[in-house]
């Protein structure tokens, strides 16, 4: 899968491991179930670790482990299953997770802005063309009305800071 980070296609250094597959060397992403059953041996590997959450798996389930993880992948089984938007906010705002938050599944250019605002910073897309649309997709709406997990300043803050008319 092509991977977009900071607006450009990058090589994916992570291997996503299916539950029935054997682990391989290097950074791996495993399911929540595998993480829960093989936690100790995974930690003992001493390589970067990621966990993949399905859309009905809240990051609250791994809140205690986040310090040891470098990546959390959140699945969008369909583009319109929006649970992971809240999960990303929780990861960033509630749990202060600093690693990669990756969007996987139904990820399209028209959602980049929303996802980025909720704290996603990596996007697995079905086709490379989406990367060309990146810049436009995240900049075509420049005003935000609500605080998010990104660095954009909402209109409220900008209005309060402007010199009195």
């Amino acid at each position: 899968m092509p991977l977009i980070k900071e607006g450009v296609l990058v090589e994916d250094l992570w291997q996503s491991i299916a539950d029935e597959e054997a682990l391989i060397d290097g950074p791996v992403v495993v399911s929540l179930e595998r993480w829960q059953s093989e936690r100790e041996s995974l930690l003992a590997r001493n390589t970067p670790l990621g966990v993949r959450l399905k859309s009905d798996q809240s990051p609250a389930l791994i809140a205690e482990d986040l310090e040891r993880l470098d990546l959390v992948a959140l699945e969008f089984p369909k583009f319109n299953d929006g649970r992971a938007y809240s999960y990303a906010r929780l990861l960033r705002d509630r749990y202060g997770f600093k690693g990669e938050v990756r969007a996987v599944g139904g990820v399209f250019r028209d959602q980049f802005l929303l996802m980025q605002r909720c704290g996603f910073d990596a996007f697995e897309v079905a086709d490379k063309a989406a990367a060309e649309a990146w810049e436009k997709a995240i900049s075509e709406i420049s005003v935000t009305y609500q605080p998010g997990a990104d660095a954009r300043r909402p209109a409220l803050a900008l209005r309060r800071n402007r010199p009195a008319a």
Binding site: N80, G82, R83, Y85, L113, L114, S142, V143, A155
Partner: protein, 551 residues
């Protein structure tokens, strides 16, 4: 009224460009209809039985005369010369061409309007009391908070793909004209023991297939926490609301399955983390928005206006319009005038372009240029001097907008039904028309008094039949159109879901049945009792007896 500043202008303008680009990608074939659908829905563009339909947001039902003129222009230039005001205080155009919709949105942006979030599984246009700011029974103008909610909910990144659509209503008055107990979230402004103004928060109401009356989740929410509390409710719902079944996806189902106590616990736990975040509303921000809704410059008048009283005495037609369509104003010498969009035999809520222009003119002459849309699909001039009412009424009569039936039997709500909607079991609008013809004698309607009839062509309940004093629901019986009748529903502060009276009636018989119900009420009412009072006193039995006696 609220006026856009540079941030609001920038957002809607950028949104138009974005949508133009999306339409171009659709027209060029880069996007399939399946891929385009969620994008167009985010801008209120539906595909209906015959054509596209564009739903334009009228935030909390407030329009300026300039905006109304623009709507008239759009109706003329891009549609077939009319628009349809909806039960959610919006306006719909039924015949736009896909390739012209970006131009329509650009026209709207010029007058500070848009179609953002008028469809899709997001937070929809927030609705309010159509008499806000003018009502005598109001604690504070609820539109201040509607506007704050409008901004917070616009393109909210986290809540754009909710399990289902989400509707919020706010009222500032004791008499609930905004139906807050049948919304996903209802906000009722109230005072706490210390006399501070805040909100009672009601959650999990709704109509549709499973009508539910909302429950109070918080008795008193201080103003500064409004957005964090809404965000907490939405965050819980976004994570836990059902996504496997379209008909079980609304928050009302979640609240019911969790139980209000447990749901409240989840919300308050979430809230405890975000309560003091950047979502907190600074007092100066509330004050800033309040200045936009400052009262217009009312003249200092006597409440008794002699020329008005004389006209009312001399002209019976005027008097009958005043009786139904004029409501008390908080300012002495002023009144609120309702413009009925329910003339006998026309689809409820329709207005032609020339009528819209005429209303814009009248708003300028008589109502500080302000107009409201009601959830009963009428329009309102909120600030009319009593001394001007007669002239206003005469002008309304010239454009066929002076039907004196606000709140009466013929002031019905009917969904599009079988004539326009592919989900319908039965026609709605023709039934409404036949009922208003049967009761065309206005004297008789005045005698019957306040009576709300609401008609839906199928179980999706777009006509809100559950909360009609008399509700009609189209059902299919072996391929024929039948109507199930419910009695005793109400959407105000005494919210109730109507009760089914008995077996359904055929298309031919349903008007007779309505007439029998009305006659039964007239026979058994005690003095000054409205239909809903009588029903509360006697229940279904007397109506059952007369309806089904002959069988």
């Amino acid at each position: 009224m609220y006026r856009y500043d540079e941030f609001d202008h920038t957002l809607v303008t950028e949104r138009v460009h974005q949508f133009r680009d999306q339409v171009e990608r659709r027209l060029s074939g880069e996007l399939t209809e399946d891929q385009f659908k969620p994008l167009r829905l985010m801008n209120g563009l539906y595909l209906q039985l015959h054509a596209y339909m564009l739903r334009v947001a009228v935030p909390y039902g407030t329009l300026s005369s300039t905006q109304m003129r623009k709507l008239a222009y759009i109706a003329r230039r891009y549609d077939k010369g009319y628009g349809h005001f909806t039960t959610r205080q919006n306006i719909q155009f039924n015949w736009p061409k896909l390739e012209e919709t970006p131009d329509i949105l650009a026209e709207l942006a010029e007058v500070e309007m848009h179609a953002i979030q008028t469809s899709g599984n997001c937070i929809r246009n927030t609705t309010s009391d159509q008499f806000a700011g003018a009502a005598a029974d109001e604690i504070e103008d609820p539109r201040v908070y509607c506007e704050i909610i409008r901004q917070w909910s616009t393109l909210h990144p986290e809540f754009t793909f909710l399990p289902r659509k989400f509707k919020i209503a706010v009222t500032g008055a004791d008499h609930d004209r905004a139906a807050v107990r049948v919304h996903d979230i209802g906000l009722q402004m109230c005072r706490n023991e210390a006399g501070e103004v805040g909100f009672e928060v009601i959650v999990g109401g709704g109509l549709g297939r499973t009508p539910v009356i909302g429950q109070t989740i918080r008795e008193f929410l201080p103003k500064q926490h409004l957005l964090s509390y809404l965000e907490a409710i939405l965050r819980v719902y976004n994570q836990l609301g059902r996504r496997d079944n379209l008909y079980k996806a609304r928050i009302k189902i979640l609240v019911r399955s969790e139980g209000i106590e447990n749901f409240k616990r989840l919300v308050e736990e979430e809230w405890s983390h975000i309560k003091d975040s950047a979502l907190q509303l600074p007092e100066d921000e509330i004050a800033r928005i309040e200045t936009y809704f400052a009262p217009p410059r009312y003249e200092c008048l006597d409440d008794t206006v002699r020329e008005f009283e004389v006209k009312r005495f001399e002209d019976r037609d005027f008097a009958s319009w005043v009786r139904t369509n004029v409501t008390a104003h908080k300012e002495p010498g002023y009144a609120v005038a309702t413009i009925s969009l329910k003339p006998t035999g026309k689809p409820p809520g329709d207005a032609s372009a020339w009528q819209m222009d005429a209303i814009a003119d009248l708003a300028e002459s008589y109502s500080f240029s302000e107009i409201r849309v009601t959830h009963e699909q009428n329009l309102v001039l909120p600030n009319v001097k009593k001394a001007d009412l007669y002239a206003l009424w005469q002008s309304l009569r010239d454009v066929e907008l002076a039907t004196p039936n606000a709140g009466l039997l013929s002031d019905m709500i009917a969904c599009p039904g079988l004539d326009y909607c592919n989900l319908a079991n039965a026609r709605s609008i023709p039934v409404a028309q036949r009922i208003s013809e049967r009761f065309s004698d206005l004297e008789r309607q005045h005698d019957i008094g306040s009576l709300k009839i609401k008609i839906s062509g199928c179980i999706n309940a777009c006509g809100h039949h559950h909360v009609g004093h008399i509700g009609l629901l189209g059902v299919d019986k072996k391929g024929e159109e039948f109507y199930q009748i419910t009695l005793g529903g109400s959407a105000d502060e005494n919210t109730a879901i109507g009760k089914i009276v008995g077996p359904a009636f055929s298309y031919d018989d349903v008007v007779d049945a309505v007439e029998k119900i009305v006659d039964t009420y007239l026979n058994i009412r005690s003095e000054d009792e409205e239909f809903s009072d009588t029903f509360r006193r006697v229940g279904l039995t007397p109506f059952k007896e007369t309806l089904y006696a002959a069988h």
